[in-house]
Subunit: 194 residues, 2 copies
DNA sequence: CCCGAAATATGAGATATCTCATATTATTGT
DNA sequence: ACAATAATATGAGATATCTCATATTTCGGG
């Protein structure tokens, strides 16, 4: 097993390249991207500390590998598959652990789905900004964001302007500086309770 | 292992009652409900043929069991846990199978989440109607539906009236008769491609 | 260095959806 | 059988969000 560190924007896995390792994230955060037939690239999900990466490739013989990019400094354990694949798939302790991880993930996504629909962009964007920020700098491409959040470009800009007017963010060139993280957290937290 | 059949509206698992079996759905469909502290009951997800039920209870020592109700005739394999729990958790073939199932489920939910937000109620409601209908009869409670779809009661009614005006549905008492399933499928399919 | 494509911006009008107010039925407990 | 509560309905005005049109700026390739 190896330990490796990735910098912000570094690719942990390149899309389409079946990975040679099973990864376990110790620290950091990353984004999952996929490219569609028409060439459009979409952000589809996040990865955080204590998540596995590459488990789909471990489990499924045929699986289209998605791209994974660090969105802040990220540290992983990396287990070489060519050597340990067979062992892992026969290790009941590991399988139980992975099954638990996946069951929790599936449940969380289901919750997110059935709730997330309800809230206005203001709340979902606050959550998104906090999830993707590197320290106090937010610099995602608007195009990617409105695709991920399922909202029009126009409206995204509109809400970002509001955040700046309220002082939550400050625009600096083409990045945004997070000035009042507490206010963003307050908005994002609305998504989490019921 | 036993085989059992449930009728529409019959409870497969009662909320809060840890199940005695691991279930595998051979045929049919069901709904997952949870009751919150304030007493509100929410529909949170669906179960279809080839899904497992009760795997969360098998895997996690502490887990709050949600209610599961058949929404059409449903047939399950049922494996008694008191006898087979230990065996299942040490059976690598079974664990691999379950892990695959959960990984697919998690991925599907993530997709649904990142896409589902985008579409107007018209599309999501069409999908919902087809998923919950028993034959050609749709009879979910409006209150439950607008909670699940994250939409206001007022707006749900508005769109249902439109569906009736367009002839997709026909209101009969407090149920709806599906008259043009093809049109509903056309609307629902929009959710599925990219 | 220039070009074209992609990304960023901004305005204005159209829809989708929400909130609130208010009636009219079902359902349920007593 | 009655009252209380939940579910169904409907209207009207307020917001959130979309679509389209159009400029400006950034960026990679030749």
């Amino acid at each position: 097993m190896e330990v490796r560190e990735y910098k912000r924007d570094e690719w942990i896995i390149r899309e389409g390249m079946r990975p040679d390792y099973l990864y376990y994230v110790i620290e950091g955060k990353a984004k999952i991207y996929v490219t569609y037939q028409n060439g459009k690239v979409s952000l589809i999900n996040f990865i955080n500390a204590h998540d596995y990466i590459g488990e789909m490739e471990l489990l499924h013989e045929v699986y289209y590998t998605k791209g994974i990019q660090a969105s802040a400094k990220t540290v992983c354990f990396e287990i070489p598959l060519h050597h340990y694949r067979k062992k892992l798939l026969e290790d009941t302790t590991f399988l139980r652990e992975l099954t638990k991880f996946l069951s929790v993930k599936a449940t969380k996504m289901a919750e997110k789905y059935s709730q997330g629909l309800s809230f206005p962009l203001e709340n979902r964007l606050a959550d998104f900004i906090l999830q993707t920020a590197d320290g106090d700098v937010y610099k995602e491409k608007h195009v990617t964001v409105c695709d991920f959040l399922g909202v029009s470009y126009r409206h995204l800009l509109h809400v970002l302007v509001q955040f700046c007017e309220k002082g939550y963010l400050q625009k600096e060139g083409r990045h945004y500086h997070i000035r009042q993280p507490d206010d963003l957290h307050r908005l994002a937290d609305v998504l989490k309770n019921e």
